[in-house]
Amino acid sequence: MKKLVLALLCVALAAPAWAASVTVTGAFARATAPGADTGAVYLGLQSDLPDTLTGVASGVASGAMLHQTTMQGMVMSMDMLDHIDLPAGQEVTLAPGGRHIMLEGLKQPLVKGSHIPLHLTFAHAAPMDILVPVAGLAATAPNE
């Protein structure tokens, strides 16, 4: 958590005063089973100016993308999203059962209690590097 605050602080200090600034809240990743190839990260994003989340990456995975789970009747499907709009002053939440950051090609299992790096890029705000805590296998909140 200290590291996360520090990372956010660094970004806040580095960003030019006129640029949009984005706040990340409640970020967590789900732990993964040994041998699992994919993982999911959830978080809340709020930008003071209209912005767009355009890209995600993490050192623990060969690929990362924005994903959306949808249920059509009883059928679950996942779709890739090009970007996620961040309307000014509005919290946008990526939560289980809906939008998430999908990590693909995990280089190591995500272990509960550890932290993983996450790189976020935006249309306007400066790119952001944060440390995301890893919660339980089926966590719906950071402390599960």
Partner: protein, 210 residues
């Protein structure tokens, strides 16, 4: 004056009619609701429905050994179809099953076989399945098999599963996300969806005598 006197009973009479009409409407709606609920309950829980959902399967277990539905006779089966490259929906379903079994206690859990069948056998080899299900708790079985074996099991359970290509060249799987409850004779008796809470699963399994 006479007009007023006449008007009074007339208006209270029409009020009465309106109230009666409203009351009858409410009764009719209640009746309809009850009827629909009864119908749905019958569809989802009656033994007759066992004809249409579930049936024989012949797959490969997490240790690479052949396994069939008959190996589970005498136990309740909780059957869920999914895949391990599914970080969002499938872990939730599996952890709901694991939590429900925890809450039912060891005696009940010993009579129940939770079974995770992959819809993505190309990637979910028995070894992948073994590591995956073990992470969710002891006793969860992870079944894979050849493409034809998996397709046959999907047909028996009326599961929809299809490859969903991703822009990056990979793929995800669209699939029915339902937990089927099968009785010790292998007959379908109930189902849970992504909206069923752990408490509701526990209550239903207790009511069924599992």
């Amino acid at each position: 004056m006479t007009q007023i006197i006449r008007a009074k009973p007339k208006s209270s009479g029409s009020k009465l009619v309106r109230r009666l009409g409203f009351g009858l409407g409410v009764l009719a709606l209640l009746g309809l609701g009850l009827g629909i609920t009864t119908m749905l309950t019958k569809v989802w829980t009656s033994p007759q429905a066992s004809i249409s959902v579930g049936g024989p399967f012949s797959l490969i277990d997490e240790n690479g050994h052949p396994i069939t539905d008959r190996d589970f006779r005498g136990k309740w089966m909780l059957v869920y179809f999914g895949y391990t490259h599914c970080p969002d929906a499938c872990p939730t379903a599996l952890s709901h099953i694991a939590n429900a079994l925890d809450q039912l206690g060891p005696a009940a859990a010993a009579k129940i076989a939770p079974i995770f069948i992959t819809v993505d056998p190309a990637r979910d080899t028995p070894q992948v399945m073994r590591e995956y299900v073990a992470a969710f708790g002891p006793g969860i079985r992870g079944l894979s098999g050849g493409a034809a074996q998996i397709a046959a099991a999907e047909t028996q359970y009326r599961v929809y599963a299809a490859k969903h290509p991703e822009k990056d060249g990979g793929y995800s799987m669209d699939h029915s996300s339902i937990v089927y409850v099968m009785n010790p004779d292998g007959e379908f008796v109930a189902s849970f969806t992504h909206e069923t809470t752990v408490a509701a699963m526990v209550a239903k399994l207790r009511a069924l005598g599992a």
